[in-house]
Symmetry: C2
Subunit: 433 residues, 2 copies
């Protein structure tokens, strides 16, 4: 056996504690896979005096990340703090001081990926980030290594466990968004401030990282069209179910006519398809490659030990030398890589509309007329018996045939500006496969 | 860019042709992922004069594998012939002559894995075999690398596309086994001689390879209990559906009380669970790791280009040096690795029984009495109206609560030896999650 490898862990929150626990408790198992002992040399935390469930071997805890970056005995650092700062400063310092870095911080990579990757390459170091996307699901390795012979055509994912937990509970319990969110917070599935989860930010940042791997372009995540789940009410789920669908927050990146279409938004997914059967805090990713066809991955996308599983796999990869090899060609730009032209593609999808109409004669004719004017044809309509109150507002649900997203957006804008509707319509795309 | 790498391809059947096609048509894309050009230097076939759809560059085709093993310009060989001989002789010769080998031949590895791995290690070469199990699904990389931080607790897979295609068509079309098999052969989903697929041999060989990766033991595949799908008739599928299940050919390896339980057999899988939703020629694998929890992978498990995708990924891994690193610790024996004690574990499962009983008074009491004598309690019973003919034979379907497999086997043997049944009963285990 070789000399042990000494690892520094920056951040002992949920994931950091899980990583230390796994490295300690499964040390023998991990040693066999790495070919040498992996030792937690030091952990850095905000408050070293705080009591902790997980003990760092020898109690080697520090409040200063420089105790890792300046320690020549440490060759690999796991950066397990969230957010942009001080994470960015720490990563730069670690790379500058010759450490290989493993991280789970998706916001950092989505925001500063290009400069951090460039710095790592200049310093001859690697950044491994399996845990940054979809927790324990090895999707980064799958795209970057296992499907390397394929040109990726599309990626669709359920990348945010909190949103998926909320949508699943609403659908299964018939509960309202606000009640389920409160339950999720109570159970620890949602943060005290869940806004980055439910507004789609988290999923969008992960999608930007996957697109870099699959298409070789760094798309600024904030430019990716995004819609969260805050507007999804129980009625929408019920109508979707009536039509044979569920609603999931779906992140999509697809190559079409040499361009890249990306978005994060709730979408209808057909019951029985793998994305529709992805429940609770699970994540799922469906990838189409030109040789392999459609591949589907499903697993726990968050949580302490699933995420720690991915971090430690990356630490092993770094120790044995695989990470250095992989990082050299990570996100290499294809000659035929799509330009990062977001929203430039008008991919035809079926759409689901929920329009709150005033219950008056002629309204359906008016709405369908507007859709027809925009070249959109209708696959099905649901309008249930309204109340008898005159001029009551009732929901009208329409499923269209495939149409371009710009056409449907124009049609919905026209409908919402008309005098027969009340409030804004909801327009979701429909995924049938 | 570095010097190009020269690859030899042994075998130009379906998979070999796909590999050559992918290496040629996606050469630029693959070069970026490998960091250097990968060139098909030579292909070896049985009959070099035969006309082919896929052309080898420069027409460099030979009838003698020694033209690859003796060519010092070739560093990597893809061994893409099936069966044991001459595949074994060729692989030994390639390794002896210093070639790294990539293969899709599961029978060869299941039968001769230990000696071939030993030879490769002695020669300082690697064997990469992603394509040998579940085609395009990167399950070998997932277990060997991505889940390396986990102790694997169980593996369940649908590993034979032909069997799954047949079961799915029977279930969806209400067609008989023989008719669907004929259709599958006509469509090219089943071989002219499909016996290794439908009798479970192919899935068992793949399971033996996965168990080596996950548990560090080489289990002789022929010792793994196996049952094929030949005995699955339409009635069984109908009763299963009535109870909320489908029938799939499931390969299982699970660690329990320090031992390893393995088997390949048709089993009932609950509708809505991922294995039940795996249809047609798709493969699926569900893995439970102690840290990551349950992971699920789904994709095309066979076919020209999905398999070629896995072979070429392995060629890239070999070229960049990842395969050599990975192969060093492939199948390393855990100190706590379960003894390869097959069938030694009496894991409690629910069971589904189909018993053909003589339609006489007291029969149900007799059968349930035998089950009770063996400590097996009954969850549900289906017996439909019988014909009015006296002493007619009618099917009796029983779902048990969890019971040990040895108890149920003894009970079924007793039932089948009694005078109230006609023919052998079918006993399948039931997977609810």
């Amino acid at each position: 056996m070789n000399e042990p490898v000494r690892v520094g862990v920056v951040g002992m929150g949920t994931v950091g504690s899980g990583v230390v626990r796994l490295l300690v408790e499964s040390a023998d198992h991990i040693e066999r896979h790495a070919g040498r002992r992996i030792v937690v040399e030091k952990a850095v935390v905000k408050d070293p005096s705080k009591a902790r469930d997980v003990q760092v071997p020898g109690g080697r805890i520090s409040g200063d990340f420089r105790d890792i970056s300046r320690d020549p005995s440490i060759s690999v650092a796991a950066l397990l703090v969230g957010g942009l700062e001080p994470a960015r400063t720490i990563m730069v310092d670690l790379l500058e001081h010759g450490k290989d870095v493993v991280t789970a911080n998706k916001a950092l990579l989505a925001e500063h990926g290009p400069e951090l990757f460039e710095l790592a390459r200049r310093k001859g170091r690697s950044i491994a980030f399996e845990a940054a996307v979809a927790g324990g699901i090895p999707i980064v390795a799958a795209i970057g290594e296992c499907l390397a012979a394929n040109r990726i055509e599309s990626i669709r994912g359920i990348l945010n466990g909190t949103s998926n937990f909320i949508l699943t509970r609403m659908e299964e319990d018939g509960a309202d968004y606000a009640d389920v969110l409160a339950l999720a917070q109570q159970k620890g599935f949602a943060e005290a401030d869940p806004s980055m989860d439910v507004d789609g930010t988290d999923a969008t940042q992960k999608l930007a990282i996957l697109a870099h791997l699959a298409f070789g372009v760094w798309v600024p995540w904030a430019e990716i069209p995004r819609m969260g789940i805050e507007g999804i009410d129980l009625d929408l789920l019920t109508y979707a179910a009536e039509l044979g669908y569920r609603i999931r927050l779906i992140a999509v990146a697809s190559r079409s006519e040499g361009r890249l279409a990306m978005r994060v938004a709730p979408a209808l997914v057909k019951i029985g398809t793998p994305l529709a059967e992805t429940r609770g805090a699970y994540n799922a990713v469906s990838i189409v490659g030109d040789a392999v066809g459609r591949m589907f991955f499903h697993g726990l996308g968050a949580g302490q030990m699933p995420t720690a599983s991915a971090v430690v796999a990356d630490i092993i990869d770094t120790v044995v030398g695989r990470a250095a090899i992989t990082f050299r060609t990570t996100g290499v730009l294809d000659a035929d890589s799509p330009a990062a032209k977001i929203g430039g593609v008008d991919a035809p999808d079926r759409h689901f509309l929920r329009i709150r109409v005033k219950d008056r004669p002629g309204v359906l004719a008016r709405i369908t007329g507007i859709l027809g004017d925009h070249g959109i044809s209708i696959a099905s309509v649901i309008q249930h018996d309204a109340s008898s109150a005159s001029d009551a507002v009732v929901p009208l649900v329409i499923m269209t045939h495939a149409c371009g997203s710009s056409a449907i957006q124009r049609a919905v804008a026209t409908i919402d500006a008309s005098d027969v509707v009340s409030g804004r319509s909801v327009c979701l795309s429909v995924l049938d496969d």
